[in-house]
Symmetry: C2
Subunit: 228 residues, 2 copies
């Protein structure tokens, strides 16, 4: 995100069934991205007037979006003083990863039981794409596909609540991970773990998938530890 000018309310393209994107959703997504990508660093006060003008929206919908993000845990509401971007300590991050690991281990087990072949194939496709991005050295796309794969596995579990909780933690961690750029050797290790994950999933090997996911996230902590 380089510069924010104004929010397009709706595509306004040609005719046809225009995608009715509610402003609320657009705002939530936009603010979330701004936080994740560092446009709004931790500790920043969300200035309603200024921010609203920047985005081309009045304060009312903006405040609603902020409240939504507060419930999501990305911002903190301070009475009479508005909202500030939440700051996570190293322990917070470690704790989140601990929970995320537990959830992914569960998701892995469930996914092996319930996932359809088509679902597995989709994850495989994402993985292959990710590997090619890795080989091309495209960190940003690699990162995004990485997230998508973990999200996809959580969804393959067929457990909506699990996918929800996973999503919330994933979002909270996105900002951290967005920063943490590991070196080449650790990056290679991460890709290898992913390879192993997909293999286990395709073999419907519960124990192995669960184990790999757990190991993967244990290492994730080591990777981001220093950048927190």
């Amino acid at each position: 995100m380089n510069e924010i000018t104004s929010l397009e309310r709706r595509p306004e393209g040609g005719p046809g069934p225009i995608r009715r994107t509610a402003l609320h959703d657009t705002l939530v997504t936009h603010l979330r991205d701004m936080i994740i990508e560092g446009d709004l660093p931790p500790g920043t006060r969300l200035h309603e007037g200024q921010l609203g003008e920047q985005l081309g929206v009045s304060r009312t919908p903006l405040r609603e979006a902020i409240k939504y993000l507060a419930s999501e845990g990305l911002v903190e509401l301070v009475p009479s003083r508005g909202a500030v971007v939440k700051r996570f300590s190293a322990k917070d991050v470690q704790d989140m990863l601990t929970v995320l690991r537990s959830l992914e281990e569960l998701a892995g087990r469930l996914a092996c039981e319930t996932a359809s072949d088509a679902g597995v194939a989709e994850v495989r496709a994402l993985h292959d794409e990710m590997v090619s991005r890795y080989k091309a050295g495209d960190r940003l796309q690699y990162y995004k596909l990485n997230q998508q794969i973990h999200t996809a596995i959580a969804q393959l579990s067929g457990n909506a609540a699990l996918a929800d909780m996973h999503g919330i933690l994933q979002t909270r961690l996105k900002r951290i991970r967005f920063i943490g750029h590991e070196g080449p050797e650790k990056w290679a290790a991460a890709v290898a773990e992913h390879e192993e994950m997909i293999a286990a999933l395709e073999a419907r090997d519960q124990a192995r998938l669960s184990e790999v996911l757990g190991r993967h996230l244990r290492k994730a902590w080591e990777r981001v530890r220093d950048s927190v």
Copy 2:
């Protein structure tokens, strides 16, 4: 909750440091309770005008509270049609309990490692109080203390993210559990399991606590299964 008249903005009791309760928090809590306690059954449309008048608040803060609850997963936002109380299927409930079980098992293990004696003592106190309510046949207080105990264990883990996720699921399930009134024999069994939990916690027996918590929630599903 029998009848809703209006929200007290602040206690307005005697002088002194008046508790500065922000209206937002009050509203969120109030709406949450209304949903949990069945004043707003699943599928109900949250009528902003009417509801606001009922609570003595204008639409603006009400909408903000609704957005907050939407992020929490208690209500669903339908574009151009407002918000409706989310309806959970039997599978949804089962899924939530599956995740909650996984989280509590983790919390149990962590709590045995990190909990202070004082913390454990507090849970014990809650438990004793709960047992006395049980013996007195006071279902409502029993139910509330039951929830408090599970929440307390999640917090004893010392993992804020874990407590958060646990809290969200617990809230979503409250409405269901509030309805599910098990018979005397199952009730007795639940109390016995709680007794075992506390013993394991006091003994700092990770495996046993984790196991009991898991078993407890497995049975919880059986208890509410029919009332969903």
